[in-house]
């Protein structure tokens, strides 16, 4: 057991109730925890923290909180960060939980060692350092969780904004909207190919009416996707090419090598024809006398 852990262990053992009460008072004052429910939650959390701190301090070989003996306490802080991120708290609001423990700890140390300035100074420094590392760990844990949430949300946004639609039996449509960057285009194209496999659709209409500009990189992705679809046994029709984009394509010297139609409607008509389907006007064909041919 290390020196500081010893001291903290002893403080918690002998002054548990006082430590808890004063810590909660600091939290209430600094973190503005109001309302009976929030106070009860804070009290619960504080108790668990002190309990874990006590247990880890009892078996700890050193003050390095990244060592395995300190794992339960780290887990508790990870849980705390995760909850706080989901509840929308800031990093500061989350970490103050840990840092505000310093005040009651120092107060207790002063009471015990006040007569001996050297001892007091040393213990305050070591305790401060321990609490600081716990606080820093909490901030890092918070950041990690925040990043995971953001990444997940980005993914969901991506999926929502580029749906692949089944227009007809065997005909898929991918209406692209907005500016396409390389990463997004790649993801979108891959999901189109996946959808071709799962739906068994042999024709995919890629509509770029809603795309203001196409640069070389995006055009290359489009071309590669169309080639990949062909290799798999499906075919693509490009629709909605604006005049400006047509000019860009020619200027860039790109060979699109794919059938393209001005509108999605034209593309659908072609797709249906290729699938051997015909659209019939019921009114005309419901005439009482069969038309003379």
């Amino acid at each position: 057991m290390s020196g500081t852990s010893n001291v903290i262990l002893s403080l918690i053992d002998r002054h548990y109730q006082r430590l808890l009460t004063e810590w909660l008072a600091c939290l209430k004052r600094d973190a503005g925890i109001g309302g009976a429910q929030r106070e009860a939650e804070a009290a619960e959390l504080a108790k668990r923290f002190l309990e874990e701190l006590r247990q880890c301090a009892a078996v700890a070989q050193s003050d390095d909180i990244h060592a395995s003996e300190w794992a339960p306490l780290r887990d508790l802080l990870d849980d705390l960060s995760r909850t706080r991120v989901n509840q929308g708290f800031s990093a500061g609001e989350t970490t103050i939980f840990v840092f505000s423990l310093k005040e009651p700890l120092f107060e207790l140390l002063r009471r015990e060692m006040g007569k001996n300035a050297d001892d007091l100074a040393r213990e305050i420094w070591c305790t401060s350092r321990l609490v600081d590392t716990l606080g820093l760990y909490t901030v890092e844990s918070y950041s990690r969780t925040r990043e995971e949430v953001i990444t997940r949300q980005q993914q969901e946004l991506l999926e929502l904004s580029t749906p692949v639609v089944e227009l007809w039996d065997g005909v898929l449509a991918l209406p692209l909207i907005g500016t396409l960057d390389s990463a997004r285009t790649q993801i979108v194209m891959e999901s189109l190919l996946e959808r071709i496999v799962t739906s068994g659709a042999e024709i995919a209409i890629i509509d770029i009416t809603g795309v203001p500009t196409v640069d070389t990189l995006v055009a290359q992705h489009l071309i590669k996707t169309i080639s990949a679809a062909r290799l798999m046994g499906a075919d693509c029709i490009l629709s909605g090419i604006r005049p400006q984009i047509a000019q860009t394509i020619v200027h860039l010297g790109l060979e699109l090598n794919v059938v393209s139609k001005a509108t999605m409607a034209d593309a659908l008509a072609l797709a249906l024809r290729r699938s051997g389907k015909a659209v019939v006007d019921r009114a005309k064909s419901a005439a009482p006398a069969p038309p003379a041919e």
Partner: protein, 128 residues
């Protein structure tokens, strides 16, 4: 040494490549197929690669060889079930599957073979 089973569906032969192929197996397959096309008077050969996570130039070569040999024996070759990741990689690799037609799955592959045989036009629906 494991052999790759060749199934007969009407006048077509179906081969499903399930394992990671190495040279001996690939050569054995090419030999077996050629024999079977003649023995069963097959008009179509379907190679199902839906279990393949990788198609490199070795496999590509094998597929092209099979297509070439079938053509000489008046049979149509269709490769089915290519995975998207494989297709994207092949495009990047610049690998051309010349003379190999493709379809999304076995059903569509059979339909394609039927269409080609019935129309008696060997250049219909060609890839590459």
């Amino acid at each position: 040494m494991a052999e790759i089973p060749i199934l007969k569906i009407g006048d077509c032969l179906l081969v499903s490549i399930q394992v990671d192929m190495h040279d001996r197996l690939a050569l054995a397959l090419q030999d077996d197929l050629t024999e079977r096309i003649v023995a069963d008077r097959a008009r179509g050969v379907m190679i199902d690669i839906s279990a393949l996570e990788i198609v490199d130039s070795f496999i590509g070569r094998m597929l092209n060889n099979i297509a070439a040999m079938s053509r000489v024996l008046d049979a149509v070759t269709v490769v089915v079930g290519m995975r998207p990741a494989v297709a994207i990689t092949l495009v990047e690799l610049g690998l051309g599957l010349t003379g190999v037609r493709t379809a999304l799955n076995v059903d569509k592959g059979l339909a394609l073979i039927r269409r080609i045989i019935d129309s008696e036009d060997p250049d219909a629906d060609r890839v590459g």
